[in-house]
Symmetry: C2
Subunit: 196 residues, 2 copies
């Protein structure tokens, strides 16, 4: 309960309707919003500041749907950390070129690019220069995921629901994928042992 007051103060939850100077009323929307915040924090690992960014992007009504989706995407993608290896930048550029995405994810422009570059930079710094060779397999796999995600999101009708489904589908999906990947590792390595 003190946490809710804190979230209210931080602007993560809209204030309740004051029925009297010391009584505020909260409806299902508030509860839903609270659960969303908890999901973003617990499962998505977002900071309070990041959650606020996401929510303001979600709540903005002025922009076009396209613009809004982009803003939300950026908000749920943490920017680059650590130092960026120029060769990693090249690797990412080459990857985008190969998949015709270069015009959409120009280096230095989006957090997605930053995530990719910093991850590959870190790989290089620990001697894993060949990591980028995995990118195409990853892309192939992620296309399957993305198609499932899109189909899932497309069930929603209202644009608010679409935005929200994208946010939680992306963040919870990230967590789920992590876990499923570990399951798949176990399965595949067991298969490999059998055929040895």
């Amino acid at each position: 309960m003190p946490t809710i007051k804190y979230y209210l103060r931080e602007g993560l939850l809209p204030a309740g309707v004051l029925t009297s100077p010391n009584q505020a009323h909260y409806d299902d929307g508030h509860l839903r919003r609270l659960r969303l915040v908890r999901a973003l924090v617990d499962v998505g690992g977002l900071s309070i500041a990041a959650v606020r960014e996401v929510l303001t992007a979600v709540d903005t009504n002025e922009e076009s749907m396209h613009h809004k989706l982009g803003a939300v995407q950026e908000a749920i993608s943490q920017p680059a950390t650590g130092e960026l290896d120029p060769i990693a930048v090249k690797d990412v550029q080459a990857f985008f070129d190969r998949h015709g995405e270069f015009e959409f994810f120009g280096v230095d422009e989006s957090n997605v690019t930053g995530m990719l570059v910093s991850a590959l930079s870190a790989a290089r710094s620990v001697g894993h220069d060949h990591f980028p060779e995995l990118l195409d397999s990853y892309m192939e796999a992620m296309r399957i995921v993305a198609r499932a995600d899109l189909e899932y999101i497309a069930r929603r009708t209202s644009s608010d629901d679409i935005i929200e489904a994208m946010v939680i589908g992306t963040l919870i999906g990230d967590a789920v994928l992590k876990a499923v990947r570990r399951v798949a590792h176990a399965e595949v390595s067991r298969e490999a042992m059998d055929t040895d």
Copy 2:
């Protein structure tokens, strides 16, 4: 530099060889280890305590390779957070049953299961009851990823290299997959718009 001293104190880096009571010598191995720690912290988002767990698991020589891999896997998979929905537990059990993994990932036994259950619980709490329907597509995609990962790891020869490749391949791979998934979302949704 003070950070390095801190890591030494925390036992994340082995002490250098003392050439004299106030001069310690650090070799390439130390630098490599330092970079590994930075990668785990920056890209993997692990806490210092988690990094220590991973490193002790990596450095243990007494256990079998199999045991070691398992310990490392657990160390790099954060345990469940938030409250667990019993229906989510059922969903996860059903998923494991479907893929014949139930004997390997018993509920309550591994962090991987915990990750999955808490993610699905969070999804349910925000009204996304149908999220588990995505699991099979995710598993299909992750098999592709896992095969690529295994092939990547199999290039290593020494068992130390294998362990290390697994650690950084898993953690950096998670970050890379996140980013690539966002790229795939963009590609797939653009395709969908074209065919509309």
